[in-house]
Symmetry: C2
Subunit: 102 residues, 2 copies
């Protein structure tokens, strides 16, 4: 059963700066975490009912099982990810653990 | 570019009843929407920092492009999906449109 880290980003002050940092700095760090199978950034385009969306993006990082996930979270590579996350999204992010049957 | 419907479910009063309804009633309705490529239910296991997670699950419905997505949203099959959603998650759900480069 796939274990995922799901990161939900609140709307930032500057969307262009957010995506630039995510793509140029954050994403390359995430891709170094051991055991990562898949990284997807879902860019939120809006609310289905036409209102403003509370979030700008939802990122998913897939690991093949909980053991690999736990090892990745404890890795030095992930410490760099966490440090970078706090540099651009502190107080504006939810970091959740999820399981899916993918 | 994949267009997704991302549905974020708040914690329900009864988690077991929520998952039973989702799997036995809601998921089969979603799978009837025209053009659907993929349906995934991510079950939230917790917050990475050890706290309680605000959400019980995040569902993703993938369509191959925005045109197919828009047609699916307008379909009679999706009207049944929306009606069912309101029967078990009214006021406890965010329904967002997203784009990903998957």
């Amino acid at each position: 059963m796939t274990t995922k880290l799901i990161v939900i980003y609140d709307q930032p002050e500057n969307a262009a700066a957010f995506f630039k940092h995510y793509e140029q700095v954050h994403s390359p760090l995430v891709k170094k975490t051991p055991g990562l199978q898949r990284l997807v950034l879902n860019r939120i385009a809006g609310d289905i009912f036409g209102g403003a969306a509370p979030y700008i993006a939802i990122a998913e990082m897939d690991y093949p099982d909980r053991e690999t996930f736990d090892a990745a979270m404890k890795s030095s590579e992930n410490q760099a990810v966490g440090k970078d996350l706090m540099s651009f999204a502190k107080g504006k992010v939810k970091v959740l653990i999820a399981q899916s049957d993918e």
